[in-house]
Symmetry: C2
Subunit: 329 residues, 2 copies
């Protein structure tokens, strides 16, 4: 029996991961017992009995979870980019300090076990750890120089994960997720939310605002790929990371114009016409600092895979989430 904890398990990616783990398990692992933890859970969410409502910012709560000695721990909980940028205190107090205290609690368990307890800890980082100027294609050894508080918090957590892993307290890994697109459901406060909105909302019969020029290029992967990355990460031998525990992941680099073109191809010109340009300087100021294309050679060599085209990303959304979204709206 392999015991899996998903922190942030009530969120969109957490739910996708929970479903994927329930349906497919983990290759090479024993049957899974899954625990979800979050501030709350969706009503029609994954059918997992062990759902804990709580807040990791409560240090004692993190310590109590650590004391259960899960085998695999996914840490997906965070304040999103737009919110962390607007509320400096909330961003740092949510996205960095609870992670430190939770890692310290895992280290205490490692010590109490005489060194035998060393959980896999898979942290969802983000391409927001990067800052420009960028080369056309970003290599795996490119500097992190975040231009948002969210990115700085993710990068700081990566450093903690790497050092706690290097010391042997955990087997940690940080996955720098591409922007997840197409997100089902309602928009969130992430500054990247519109990248999903301009596909999802027209497919659901609604207009969508486009707050940036259509030449903006960005780096995307589907929710299905995100869940796939997270599952795959748990199957790796930690030694394969060779001490560099943060990974740039595969994705699709395309412009907003190419996104729109793919939507037109898949769903027709009428649907694509529901996208309404309305520039938003606040969003554009954040987005313009983001990276646009990667060569994720290490992750590919380690077996991580994603979609091959943005059209495929749209088709994944239609297959996995469109009926659900339509039902919700």
């Amino acid at each position: 029996m392999t015991r899996v904890l998903i922190l942030g398990g009530g969120g969109m990616v957490g739910q996708k991961l929970a479903h994927a783990l329930m349906d497919e398990g983990l290759p090479g692992a024993e049957p899974l017992v899954i625990t979800l933890h979050d501030l709350g859970f969706p009503e029609e969410g994954a059918d997992i009995p062990d759902k804990r409502v709580g807040n990791l910012a409560n240090i004692a709560e993190g310590a109590a979870l650590a004391a259960e000695r899960f085998d695999v721990i996914y840490q997906l909980a965070s304040v999103v980019s737009g919110e962390a940028e607007m509320d400096f205190d909330k961003g740092w107090q949510t996205n960095l300090w609870p992670m430190w205290h939770f890692l310290e609690a895992l280290r205490a368990q490692h010590r109490a076990s005489g060194g035998s307890y060393r959980p896999k800890v898979i942290f969802t980082s983000s391409i927001a750890v990067f800052g420009g100027p960028y080369p056309e294609i970003i290599p795996d050894d490119f500097a992190t120089s975040p231009q948002t508080s969210y990115g700085a918090q993710k990068a700081a957590c990566e450093l903690l994960v790497q050092d706690f892993s290097r010391k042997g307290f955990i087997e940690g890994m940080s996955l720098r997720l591409p922007t997840i697109c197409v997100r089902p459901g309602k928009p969130n406060l992430a500054s990247s939310s519109f990248f999903s909105g301009i596909i999802r909302d027209p497919l659901n019969g609604e207009d969508a605002q486009l707050p940036v020029p259509d030449w903006v290029r960005h780096w995307h992967a589907s929710p299905r790929s995100a869940a796939g990355f997270l599952r795959h990460a748990a199957t790796l031998d930690h030694a394969q990371l060779e001490g560099r525990t943060a990974l740039n992941l595969p994705g699709i680099s395309c412009t907003v114009a190419e996104q729109i073109e793919a939507l037109r191809d898949v769903a027709g010109a009428d649907v694509a016409a529901r996208i309404k340009p309305l520039l938003d300087d606040r969003i554009m100021n954040i987005v313009k600092g983001w990276p646009t294309a990667f060569d994720p050679a290490r992750a590919r060599a380690l077996g991580f895979t994603a979609e091959g085209s943005f059209r495929e990303i749209i088709e994944t959304y239609i297959a996995d989430d469109l009926p659900l979204d339509t039902r919700q709206s």
Copy 2:
């Protein structure tokens, strides 16, 4: 009147900086009033009346210092690399958390001033923020992937300095100092201490242990250059950093064999013969993860300069520190 605070002002670099500021001031600044802060001060140290004995790990003490609203704040205080590696708790509790609380205290002063108080904060980071594998020459946009706790702590502080600066609370900068060589005085617990010892001790008539093979290549600058970097940093317009507040600095890349050869050239074969190879796996395991050569193009363009050869570094030591060391020994 420009008020300067040097945290870690009792240390070797802090003292060099204090002397340099007393002797030469800051170009373009008003006359300086200097305050030093540290756990203690050398008896024959810089003749500065305002020396505060204290500990930044005391959060209230950092807040009280912040409330004095210094114009320029140098943050040089830290546990060194070897000690941070041996004592995980002490490293993180000394090298990261006090920095966070001190920056928060400066932010509170910024807010209390209605936004007008925005001190220059110059943080001494280190090339220990890097981890291999490395290209032959490391460019300015190379990834930080620290392989020591010390490096992880410095990299995490860099992220804080950059985000607090981006938000306009401070005008911060992180200087990734080369290994400072030749350090005068006694060896310290830094894993890099021997790079100085093999030059200093023979010049002072003593044998020196060399714990690594002589093909080890490393990146050096003199204490005089370190003080020069720190002085120069305070004269820059913050906008020149273009949001990337961590800088790789100029230095000399050479092997231990080249260090020894330069010592032989300057002081003769008898002096160089006082270097005794005695491999130390613990030191070698740390040193082998360190970078060896940089192209610090940004720092050079911003006017930072260092020595042109390792021979010059030895000559700087002889000119600045040898009589003092001989007197001490």
